[in-house]
C-alpha cells in the first residue's frame, strides 16, 4: 500500500532548512565558485522571495548552480508556486518549445542570461505576462528586479496592498497564473512543486510534474543516507537545473550539510575547494569521475577528508569502480539510481572500501517506501537470470513519483498506472543483492531477429581504458533490419575495439562499424543518444570508420 504522504502534516522544504538555520545560522549552506550563503542568509532570501511570489505562479529560473538558485527554489516551494528550472545556456528555440506547453509567470535570471527566455516568450505569446527579475546579491532587500519586461509583463491588475517599501520595485499582479499560451486558467494540477525538464524521446523536452509531497517523500527516503553527512560539507558538480543535481542539493541541505556546487570545469580549483571545506562526499556522474581520473584526480592531492563518492544515476560500472579503487582505496562508493520521473533516488548501493566490486548493473536495494514490480526476486538463480539475457521492465511505486507530464498545453498525462506503478523504461532483474539494471527498453537494436541491448556493448567498449565514452546505436539496414554502430571517444584503435567485442560478446552483438568522434552531449553532459543516432543515420558509410 502507498504510504500516507497525502494525509500527513506537510512541512515545507524551507522549514526543514530553517531548523538548521536556527542551530547553525552562520554555517555555509550553499556555496558556488562565486559566492556563498549561510543558512541564515539563505532563509532570509528565500523568505523574501516567497513573500512576494503569488501562489501557483510558475517560476522559471535561468540561473547558475549555487545559493541564489537554491534560495529561489526554497522560496518557490514555500509559497506553493511551481519551480521550472531551466538550463543556463538554453537556446531561444529550446525555451520556445517549453513555453508552448507552460508559460512562466516569473523568470529569475541575470540580465545577461535573460535574453533567450524573453525572446522565447515573445515568440510564443505576445501578451505573456512575465516579470523578469534578478536578485541582486548586494542589495540588502535582495529582491530588486534589474529589469522588467515592460511590454510583456504589464500586470493585469496591480495589488498595491502587496507593495511595501522593501518590494516596491516588484510588480505584484493577479493575472492568470500557471498557464499555457492562450489558456486563461491554471493548467497544472494543485500542489505541483517542480516542473522538471527531461529529454523526450521525440527530441522535444518533456515537462515532468512533481507534487510537493513527492519532493518531501524523496527527501525523507534519502534521509538515512544523507544524515550521515550532517554538519559536514558535500561537493556536487552536477548542474542544479538537472533533476539529480537539484535533488542532491536539497537532500543534503535539509540534512544539515553545506553543499558546494560548481558551474565550470576547473578541477584544480574544485580540488582546492573540496580540501579547504573538508568535503566528506563527492556526488557526480560516472562521466565526470572518469575524466577526473584521466586528469590524475587523487594522485597529488589524496583528499583525506573525502570519504564517500556517489555515482549517479547509473548502474554499476565495474571498470570505473576498480579505477577509483586504485586512485582512492579508502573511499566508500555509492551507486544511486533514479529517474527524472520521480524525485530523488530510488535505490542506493554502498560499496565499502574493502568490499568486492559488485556485478555490472547492480544498483542496490530500493529505499524504504519504494516498491518494485515487474522484476521477480531471483535469489540464488540471479546469475542464471543475468546470463539469460535482458530482464523485464522495472516498475516502481513510490510517493516520490511524478504526477504526470504536460502532454499538451492544457493536458497533463499520468505517468503511473492504476495501481500507482511507474514504468521506468529500464530493464533488469532483482536478486538478494538488489536491483540489477541491464539497459533501456526503448534502445533495443533489432538485427537479424535478435534483440540487442546497446548498454551491453557499451559496457564492453568502456572496459577498454583507452575509451572515454561510448554510445551504440542501430542504423537502419534494408537487409538486416539494423546495423550496430559503436561511436566512441578516446585513443583506442577501432580494430582493437572490434577485437574486444568479438572476445566478449556473442557474434550477433559485434558492431558492424566503429566510429571515433566527439559524442554529442545533452546540456547536462550526458551522451545524447538521439543526436548520435541521427548523425549516424545520415553519415555516408565510407566515412564511418576512422581507421578504415
Amino acid at each position: 500500500m502507498r504510504s500516507t504522504a497525502n494525509t500527513r502534516r506537510r512541512v515545507s522544504v524551507l522549514d526543514e532548512v530553517r531548523t538548521w538555520a536556527r542551530q547553525t545560522p552562520n554555517a555555509i549552506a550553499v556555496e558556488s565558485e562565486r559566492e556563498a550563503f549561510s543558512f541564515a542568509e539563505l532563509i532570509d532570501r528565500a523568505d523574501a522571495f516567497s513573500e512576494w511570489l503569488p501562489e501557483r505562479a510558475v517560476v522559471a529560473t535561468v540561473l547558475e548552480s549555487g545559493p541564489r538558485l537554491t534560495a529561489a527554489s526554497l522560496g518557490t516551494f514555500a509559497c506553493g508556486a511551481v519551480l521550472l528550472p531551466l538550463p543556463l545556456k538554453s537556446a531561444t528555440s529550446e525555451l520556445e518549445a517549453v513555453f508552448r506547453y507552460l508559460l512562466p509567470d516569473v523568470i529569475v535570471a541575470k540580465p545577461e542570461h535573460a535574453g533567450p527566455a524573453r525572446a522565447a516568450l515573445e515568440r510564443v505569446a505576445k501578451d505573456a505576462a512575465a516579470a523578469v527579475l534578478w536578485v541582486d546579491p548586494n542589495d540588502p532587500e535582495h529582491n530588486d528586479p534589474e529589469q522588467t519586461d515592460t511590454e510583456h509583463s504589464a500586470p493585469e491588475q496591480t495589488d498595491t496592498t502587496q507593495t511595501d517599501s522593501s518590494s516596491a520595485n516588484f510588480i505584484p499582479w493577479t493575472g492568470p497564473r500557471n498557464r499555457a499560451p492562450a489558456i486563461d486558467a491554471p493548467c497544472l494540477p494543485p500542489g505541483v512543486a517542480v516542473a522538471q525538464l527531461t529529454s523526450g524521446s521525440t527530441g522535444i523536452p518533456k515537462i515532468i510534474l512533481l507534487h510537493q509531497d513527492a519532493v518531501h517523500a524523496a527527501l525523507q527516503q534519502s534521509r538515512p543516507f544523507t544524515k550521515r553527512f550532517t554538519g559536514r560539507a558535500v561537493f556536487s558538480p552536477m548542474p542544479q537545473f538537472h533533476a539529480m543535481g537539484g535533488a542532491i542539493v536539497l537532500e543534503h541541505l535539509t540534512a544539515g550539510s553545506s553543499v558546494l556546487v560548481t558551474n565550470r570545469f576547473l578541477p584544480g580549483h574544485d580540488g582546492t575547494r573540496i580540501q579547504q571545506s573538508e568535503c566528506a562526499l563527492l556526488a557526480a556522474s560516472p562521466e565526470y569521475i572518469r575524466i577526473l581520473l584521466k586528469l590524475g584526480m587523487w594522485k597529488k592531492n589524496p583528499l583525506p577528508k573525502l570519504t564517500d563518492l556517489v555515482l549517479g544515476s547509473a548502474a554499476t560500472d565495474r571498470a570505473l569502480i576498480e579505477h577509483v579503487r586504485q586512485a582512492a582505496p579508502n573511499l566508500s562508493i555509492h551507486i544511486r539510481y533514479g529517474l527524472s520521473e520521480a524525485y530523488g533516488a530510488l535505490t542506493r548501493l554502498e560499496i565499502p572500501p574493502n568490499a568486492a566490486v559488485p556485478p555490472r548493473g547492480l544498483v542496490g536495494a530500493p529505499l524504504p517506501g519504494v516498491e518494485l514490480a515487474g522484476v521477480e526476486l531471483a535469489g540464488a538463480e540471479s546469475a542464471g537470470a543475468e546470463l539469460a539475457g535482458v530482464g523485464e521492465e522495472i516498475r516502481v511505486r513510490t510517493d516520490a513519483a511524478a504526477l504526470g507530464w504536460v502532454a499538451e498545453p492544457n493536458r497533463v498525462a499520468r505517468l503511473v498506472d492504476e495501481e500507482g506503478f511507474l514504468a521506468t523504461g529500464d530493464l533488469g532483474f532483482r536478486d538478494a543483492a538488489g536491483l540489477h539494471i541491464q539497459g533501456r527498453r526503448s534502445q533495443f537494436i533489432k538485427r537479424l531477429g535478435h534483440r540487442i541491448e546497446p548498454g551491453e556493448i557499451e559496457h564492453v567498449l568502456l572496459a577498454d581504458p583507452a575509451v572515454d565514452a561510448a554510445v551504440v546505436v542501430g542504423v537502419a539496414d534494408p537487409l538486416a533490419g539494423a546495423n550496430i554502430v559503436a561511436v566512441v571517444e578516446g585513443s583506442a584503435a577501432n580494430r582493437d575495439l572490434v577485437a574486444r567485442c568479438r572476445e566478449h560478446l556473442a557474434p550477433h552483438k559485434v558492431p558492424q562499424q566503429v566510429v571515433n568522434m566527439t559524442i554529442p552531449r545533452t546540456q547536462s553532459g550526458k551522451p545524447n543518444r538521439a543526436a548520435v543516432q541521427e548523425t549516424m543515420a545520415r553519415r555516408p558509410k565510407t566515412k564511418a570508420t576512422k581507421d578504415d
Partner: protein, 91 residues
C-alpha cells in the same frame, strides 16, 4: 605573457587549443592570447582533457589536475605560461 614565452610558442599553444576545441565540439574558433576560455564557455570537461593530452604529446609536459584553475588555464596565454613553467619545449 612571460619573457620566456615567445610569440611563436604562444601561437603554437593557441593553435593547439583552437584545433582541439574544433575537433571536440565541431565549433570553429578564433582565439586570441587573452581569450577567456572558461568564462566564454569554450572548454567543457572533455575538451579540457583533450587539451591536456595534446599538450603532453606536442610539448612533452606532464601537467597536474591541480593546474586546472582559472589563473593557469583561463586563457591561451596562461596555458602557454603553464606549459613553459613545466619545461615544455617547442616541437
Amino acid at each position: 605573457m612571460t619573457d620566456d614565452v615567445t610569440n611563436e610558442f604562444q601561437e603554437q599553444v593557441t593553435a593547439l587549443i583552437a584545433t582541439t576545441i574544433e575537433e571536440s565540439t565541431g565549433r570553429a574558433v578564433e582565439l586570441a592570447a587573452d581569450t577567456a576560455l572558461i568564462d566564454e564557455g569554450y572548454l567543457d570537461s572533455l575538451t579540457v582533457l583533450q587539451i591536456f593530452m595534446k599538450l603532453h604529446e606536442v610539448f612533452g609536459v606532464e601537467l597536474d589536475m591541480e593546474d586546472l584553475t582559472e589563473d593557469a588555464f583561463g586563457t591561451p596565454a596562461a596555458i602557454a605560461n603553464l606549459v613553459r613553467a613545466h619545461g615544455g619545449q617547442q616541437p
